[in-house]
């Protein structure tokens, strides 16, 4: 299990390849990569991601540990950036490895669902006209009920 919280960019392809190389015996690897999406008006300059150092790492650790206890996973990776990001930049990535595809898919979805509303990150969208904090969605809270 590897949990990384950093302001530096990361390379999703390199991370996938290292993850695959490290997971001996698993037939199935699932990744989710989240990218900075432009806003409706199409003029996003920067996304600023704030986090709660200390709590972030422990929250991500708990979520990943919970995933490992629920599914037979050979490995789990969570990377999340903070700081200033630009449209199309990778924000975060999770990867799961398992013998079977169902476990790898479910665990990755579980990680994403919890990460969305249980990891202390906040996003601010900055355009030349001003800035807005991204609001949480009720559905992000609702999806947790399925687990």
């Amino acid at each position: 299990m590897r949990i990384i919280v950093q302001d530096a960019p990361f390379d999703p392809g390199e991370e996938l390849n290292s993850f695959v190389a490290a997971t001996k015996g698993a037939g199935a690897v699932v990744t989710f990569t989240g990218l900075v999406r432009d806003i409706a008006s199409g003029d996003l300059d920067v996304m600023e991601i704030e986090h709660y150092p200390g709590m972030t790492e422990s929250a991500l650790n708990s979520i990943a540990t919970e995933a490992q206890s629920r599914w037979a996973l050979a490995d789990v990776l969570v990377i999340h950036r903070y700081g200033r990001l630009y449209p199309q930049d990778p924000i975060m990535m999770v990867a799961t490895a398992s013998r079977h595809r169902k476990a790898a898919f479910e665990a990755a979805e579980f990680l994403m669902d919890y990460l969305k509303s249980r990891a202390p990150f906040w996003k601010k969208e900055i355009t030349k006209d001003g800035s807005d904090w991204v609001a949480s969605k009720d559905e992000d809270e609702d999806v947790l009920k399925r687990w």
């Binding site: 709590m55 422990s58 975060m92 990891a119 202390p120 990150f121 992000d140």
Partner: protein
Amino acid sequence: MEVLYFAWVRERIGLPKERIETGAETVADLVKDLCAREERYAAAFADLTALRVALDQELSSFDAPLAGVREVAFFPPMTGG
């Protein structure tokens, strides 16, 4: 205790953290104390349903007791991922 603010809570209150001496027994009591101090606290805490609280870096609730807590953090619902 150490009190931390994140995202727009931090912006409204105007600082990321401060040391507060309080006799408040619960989080809700602490919020009342803060709101009584200055308008910027009242503005930040106007709608508690829009806020979350963590005690010693664990998500908690506004009716939780503060006994033994070293760090309280207030912030809006999280938007990771």
